[in-house]
Amino acid sequence: MRKMIPVVAMIGVLVMLIWGYLDSFKYSWLAIMVAGIAIVAISIYEKDRQNKQTK
């Protein structure tokens, strides 16, 4: 799951650039925001899982 973080980040950046290039950059920042939220969610989940394992 942790290995998904760079993949999600790259997908977010690519979607943002392609969306902006094909349509407009007015709303393409949403892609990077969604990627950021997904990365934070994965990090929290992984941290929680690690804490449970160490207990």
């Binding site: 760079p6 980040a9 950046v13 943002m16 950059f25 007015k26 920042w29 990077i32 950021g36």
Partner: protein, 153 residues
């Protein structure tokens, strides 16, 4: 520990995360002006698409260097204070030129001073939290050793 392998791994992760973090920060800071993916001055200078690509790549470079430099924390020969100071110098030497080029600080001295002051505050907090975390760990190890020794007697 394989330093060069770890350095490459950290730098690569830093590059992709830096791109995302840099763009999110700019969107957040331009929220009052209608959510832009790059500073308006940078867009005026290069055009929208090139400005956003340049900013995304340079944010990645910044993340790459800052993340890669965290390797100093894994080196046993440096104290936490020394490691934090080395990381701070590396981060500032990268951040100041990039933030000026990307118009994050408005290319004025006041902007740079604000960034430096905020950065120093952040590093003091980082040093304190790392120091306290190690202190608690050592305390726990000492308590465990004491329990073990008292059990043997």
């Amino acid at each position: 520990m394989n330093v060069s392998k770890d350095l490459i791994r950290l730098a690569a992760l830093g590059f992709v995360l830096g791109m995302v973090i840099g763009d999110i920060m700019v969107v957040a800071f331009t929220a009052s002006e209608g959510m832009s993916l790059a500073a308006p001055e940078l867009i005026d200078e290069f055009g929208e698409l090139p400005a956003i690509i340049i900013q995304t790549l340079l944010s990645g470079v910044l993340g790459c260097i800052c993340f890669g430099a965290t390797i100093v924390y894994y080196k046993d020969e440096y104290s936490i204070l020394a490691a934090t100071c080395i990381h701070m110098v590396i981060a500032f030497l990268t951040l100041i030129p990039i933030s000026n080029f990307l118009w994050w600080t408005g290319r004025v001295m006041e902007g740079n001073i604000v960034v430096l002051a905020m950065g120093i505050c952040a590093y003091v907090m980082v040093w304190f939290s790392v120091y306290m975390s190690y202190r608690i760990q050592i305390q726990k190890i000492n308590e465990a050793l004491e329990r073990r020794n008292s059990g043997k007697q």
